[in-house]
């Protein structure tokens, strides 16, 4: 007999990581930039969180340091894309390599020691923030406020926005800081509560950033859609052991989330369009 309630709650930590990172990316993409570097930012943040928590003995400092490291990478991305005018895709991809490389160097410096972790209360707070507060705030901010029109105008038509007096660079830098902070929080949270349980193991926190990028698309660039997609994918992850107990090989069970995401997107793309939920034009048009 499957314990449905347990399964639903097991999905929460996964969903939280995805929801934080994907909403950070969603905000940035609404502002017309497209940061492929999430994978590296999450990884660096997790590594920095590990070492700082270990050396200061405080998970809060670790968490904050993780967030800062991720913001630094986001701003580095901004420097390349905004200041130098470099290509977004290749910059983002380099950030992936940079973040994984540096994150692993600092993470390994912990020597695999168990670091102090955040308490249950802080854990629950982050879950509530990611899955309830953030989507509501982002929804009203992006779609029901003057500020949201400013941000979204950058994702639709930068030239027009600039002509109308929108401070393009400033808004985008703000969006990058939000992006970095949320993705960094995702990485720290992942380190504390993810598969490692506050202990660094090299190359075992991979794939989270990539999946988050996918979730932005699956949620069709809408905060509520993104959180729903995060939870769906989290649930699929939580269900993997269950699939193995009914005789599906673990390597096949591992790929079910990816398979379901592709099928889901193929089915619901049209549905979103009907509901008049549209992606930012600068990022994606059919």
């Amino acid at each position: 007999m499957v314990n449905v309630a347990a399964l639903l709650s097991q999905a929460l930590p996964y969903a939280t990581v995805y929801a934080l990172a994907a909403q950070g990316e969603l905000f940035l993409e609404r502002a017309g930039l497209f940061n492929l570097g999430l994978e590296g930012m999450i990884y660096l943040s997790a590594g920095v969180t590990a070492i700082i928590s270990l050396y200061t003995g405080s998970p809060v400092y670790g968490l904050l340091a993780g967030i800062v490291s991720s913001i630094v990478l986001a701003l580095l991305y901004g420097f390349f894309v905004i200041t130098l005018g470099a290509d977004q895709a290749v910059t983002g991809l380099s950030i992936v390599f940079l973040g994984i490389g540096l994150g692993d160097v600092v993470g390994r410096a912990t020597g695999g020691a168990v670091t102090p972790s955040i308490g249950i209360l802080a854990n629950d707070l982050i879950v509530v923030l990611a899955l309830l507060v953030l989507p509501i705030v982002l929804y009203f901010m992006l779609f029901r406020s003057w500020l949201g029109y400013v941000v979204r105008s950058l994702g639709e038509n930068v030239a027009t926005a600039r002509a109308l007096g929108v401070p393009v660079t400033l808004t985008r830098i703000a969006a990058l800081i939000i992006n970095g902070a949320l993705v960094g929080l995702a990485g720290s949270y992942l380190f504390f509560t993810g598969p490692l349980g506050s202990r660094w193991v090299s190359m075992s926190l991979l794939g989270w950033g990539w999946m988050s990028l996918g979730i932005v698309i699956l949620g069709y660039w809408h905060p509520v859609g993104v959180v729903a997609a995060s939870y769906l994918v989290g649930l699929l992850y939580a269900m993997r052991p269950l699939l193995e107990t009914v005789g599906i090989p673990s390597s096949i069970a591992d790929v079910t989330p990816y398979l379901v995401v592709i099928i889901a997107l193929a089915v619901i793309s049209a549905l979103y369009e009907k509901m008049n939920v549209k992606p930012p034009t600068a990022i994606w048009s059919r």
Binding site: L93, S94, G101, P249, S251, I252
Partner: protein, 335 residues
């Protein structure tokens, strides 16, 4: 001066400046490794100039360059697939299956068939991404990424299940007769890159592909099918990446083993190379060589206690430096 030549010259200046800058940053970072800046730079230089680095780089060049030259074509059409990783893996799987399980003996014809079959499977995987995009409006970044993970799953399933040989999660190694030499593998990939370059420069499809990204309305007006162009590009890109995977298996890997979460990484490095090469197949080949050399330096640097993840970060710094300076000097060149 003609603009194309000017672009090349300014690009080259940017490349050199970027490389010099990255050496500087690497030295600063290297001084934290415990070797000191001077010790690190000595080791870095000797590793870069050693013959071993270059010869061991060539096997990696094969899948990276195959990914990069096809991706350059795809990106020209604004088709931002990142699926080369999965195509390389499935290409290797396809070549293994055909040679080991179907043909069962090695010969020039058998090996050629295996590599072509690898390309075919890669093309199907690429075509799936293109088809989903064209038919159902599925974003290709997402679908190609998911397919990469599915490819990892397929390899892991095969080596731990039906194809497993012995106690470890890996297949039996291919017998020596079912192999190709390094020079053959490199040659195959270079020829593929050359053909793609010629395809872009000398056929009308080159213009059609560019127009789909740069001037979609104009393309439609002049009767260029957006959907068919994207589909063709997706198929070609997948085909070349698949060939790279097949050649990689027959030359370097010889057997399949279980894969970690990160995959092999060649397809992702190919993306970097495609952009660094200015979205030209020939440029992508050159950039792939650079990235392959950096990648192969990991093993020599590891001997001196520099961790492989540190070298990964260095790779990124070098790519970013080159990117910064080429972008800057190209902008100057356009003025």
């Amino acid at each position: 001066m003609n603009t194309r030549l000017r672009g090349v010259i300014y690009g080259a200046i940017g490349l050199v400046l970027g490389l010099l800058f990255s050496v500087l940053v690497s030295l600063i970072l290297g001084s934290f490794t415990g070797l000191g800046a001077l010790g690190f730079s000595k080791i870095f230089l000797s590793s870069l100039l050693s013959k071993d680095t270059w010869t061991s780089a060539l096997p990696y060049f094969v899948p990276i360059a195959a990914s990069a030259s096809g991706l350059a074509l795809a990106y020209r059409a604004g088709f931002i697939t990142i699926g080369a990783e999965g195509q390389v893996m499935l290409g290797a799987v396809a070549a293994y299956w055909l040679l080991y399980y179907v043909i069962g003996h090695g010969s020039v014809a058998a090996v050629t068939a295996a590599i072509l079959f690898a390309g075919l499977v890669g093309a199907l995987y690429g075509g799936l991404v293109g088809g989903l995009r064209v038919g159902l409006g599925v974003n290709e970044i997402l679908s190609s990424l998911m397919l990469n993970y599915i490819a990892i799953g397929i390899v892991n399933y095969l080596v731990a299940g039906p194809w497993q040989q012995g106690g470890y999660t890996r297949t039996a190694p291919l017998p020596p007769s079912m192999s190709i030499g390094l020079s053959a593998a490199v040659l195959i990939v270079v020829i593929a890159g050359l053909l793609l370059e010629l395809f872009i420069v000398f056929t009308k499809y080159g213009v059609a592909i560019d127009s789909v990204r740069l001037a979609r309305k104009a393309a439609q007006t002049y009767g260029i099918g957006i959907a068919s162009t994207i589909l063709i590009v997706a198929l070609i890109q997948g085909f070349v990446a698949g060939i790279g995977g097949g050649a990689l298996l027959l030359q370097l890997l010889r057997q399949l083993r279980s894969v970690g979460l990160g995959g092999w990484g060649y397809g992702y490095m190919g993306i970097l190379a495609a952009w660094l090469g200015g979205l030209r197949p020939l440029g992508a080949l050159a950039a792939s060589l650079l990235i392959a050399i950096l990648y192969s330096m990991r093993s020599t640097l590891q001997l001196y206690g520099v961790s492989d993840s540190f070298v990964l970060a260095l790779e990124a710094i070098i790519v970013l430096s080159v990117l910064a300076f080429t972008t800057l000097s190209m902008r100057r060149g356009e003025r």
